[in-house]
């Protein structure tokens, strides 16, 4: 449409009266942006209507203003009084953005309850899992030590029951008449095991030492471990041949030669 046609169409007058369809209104607003003449024309129409309205003014009753002012004052007290309009509008918009249809509100609420419930169960089960895990660890450790004991005993039994094993009882000397020890000498392999169970308690800083008498001379056969007061059948040094075995009490770590006065048990083969 030509500019003159737009201006003389009558559409601008209807637009100011609010009587144009939404499509027509958009069209007029578009023209107003595009043509300064249209904008100016619209302004002139508005000014004429405004003047006409003012010329036909009627003063309303004086109490109307009081009512209006009281009404807006009441509304102000009901809203956030100190906040500027822009902020309040922003608040309104925010509320709009976050408000959900009732169904979703319930759905969200239900979801939250489920989530919290789930978290509580998770916490509970995690604690249970942790204590169960600890219990399992303890049980496994016990089992492990039991197994070690069994293995040890099994090995000891193997030594004792081996068909090549020669059991030798070492009897107490006059120095220690009650002392007894046993040697298991596996003849085919030369392995020597000692069972110190019936030796007297070892004094502090002392240790039993096993000797093999080979060709009339005492040879160190190893130190006997008596840790924590528990005596186990334990493996000593191996000997192909020996005339006798003896156990003396020596200083911890052992001596190169046996202290004859401290001999507790001995046996000749």
């Amino acid at each position: 449409m030509e500019l003159n046609d737009i201006i003389s169409s009558g559409l601008l007058e209807l637009y100011i009266a609010g009587l144009t369809s939404p499509e027509e209104s958009l069209q007029v607003e578009g023209w107003a942006k595009e043509y300064p003449e249209v904008k100016r024309e619209l302004g002139s129409i508005e000014a004429a209507v405004e003047s006409y309205a003012f010329s036909e003014s009627i003063t309303p009753g004086v109490d109307v203003k009081d009512k209006v002012m009281k009404a807006i004052e009441m509304q102000e007290t009901n809203t956030i009084k100190a906040a500027p309009a822009s902020f309040r509008n922003e608040m309104k918009e925010r509320t709009k953005v976050y408000s959900l249809p009732p169904f979703y509100k319930w759905a969200v609420a239900a979801g939250l309850i489920l989530l919290l419930g789930s978290l509580a169960f998770n916490y509970m089960y995690f604690n249970k899992y942790r204590s169960a895990s600890t219990d399992l660890q303890v049980a496994q450790n016990q089992l492990q030590s039991q197994k070690q004991m069994t293995d040890t005993m099994s090995n000891e039994m193997n030594v004792v029951t081996d068909k090549y094993t020669l059991p030798v009882v070492l009897n107490g000397t006059p120095h220690a008449p009650d002392a007894v020890a046993k040697i298991f000498w596996v003849k085919n392999s030369g392995e020597v095991y000692v069972d110190p169970t019936n030796l007297p308690q070892v004094p502090e800083g002392k240790q039993y030492q096993l000797w093999a008498i080979v060709d009339g001379k005492p040879v160190d056969a190893g130190m006997i471990s008596t840790k924590k007061g528990v005596y186990h059948i334990q493996k000593m040094k191996s000997f192909g041949k020996a005339d006798a075995f003896a156990i003396t009490l020596e200083k911890t770590g052992g001596s190169p030669t046996p202290t004859m006065s401290e001999m507790y048990v001995m046996a000749k083969i």
């Binding site: 003012f54 010329s55 109307v64 209006v68």
Partner: protein, 181 residues
């Protein structure tokens, strides 16, 4: 014409956007008579028109952020808001009921034989002002700007084709502008 203004329109709009009650009081003082005149043209009942005017100003205050200064003058926006509110009042049942009671009370009233509905616009009085304006031109301005009639209704009312409403409007406003100059 409005009284000598303390604020120009731009300042007034800015203050009202920030909910300035003093500016609003000023707005009321300057525009209430013109708007009341417009409401009264439609309702022809002082008390009811005052109720509508009061409601209109509260709405202006509450919805002020809806006013877009780039789209037109402040008065145009307020006039159309007030006009729509008046039309709503005319259509509401409460209004009809209240009017009937009122009519019974004032049976000698010249409108006593009529129900107050949109039908009442049949009698648009001759305005005292702008006597230079031809009555048919004044009529179309009143119908369009102060009557709440649609284009269609105006055409029917004036018994003219729909397409002619625009050109008649154009002529009437042009005439008004000439007189005002």
């Amino acid at each position: 014409m409005p009284e000598i203004k303390k604020y120009n329109e731009e300042e007034l709009v800015m203050l009202l956007r920030n909910n300035d009650a003093t500016a609003f009081s000023y707005l009321y003082d300057n525009y209430s008579s013109a708007l009341y005149g417009a409401v009264y043209k439609m309702l022809e009942d002082r008390e009811l028109s005052e109720d509508v005017l009061q409601e209109a100003f509260v709405k202006i205050w509450n919805n002020f952020t809806n006013y877009d200064a780039t789209k037109g003058r402040l008065f145009t926006w307020m006039l159309n808001l007030t006009k729509n509110l008046t039309i709503d009042t005319l259509r509401s049942k409460g209004y009809k009921k209240q009017s009937k009671i009122q009519n019974n009370e004032n049976s000698v009233n010249e409108y006593s034989d009529k129900t107050i509905t949109a039908e009442r616009f049949d009698s648009i009085g001759i305005r005292k002002h702008l006597t230079l304006l031809k009555s048919d031109q004044k009529q179309i301005i009143d119908l369009a700007y102060f009557g709440g009639y649609t284009q269609d209704e105006i055409a029917k009312k004036l018994a003219i084709p729909l397409g002619t409403v625009k050109t008649r409007m154009r002529t009437a406003i042009s005439e008004l502008r000439k007189i005002l100059q």
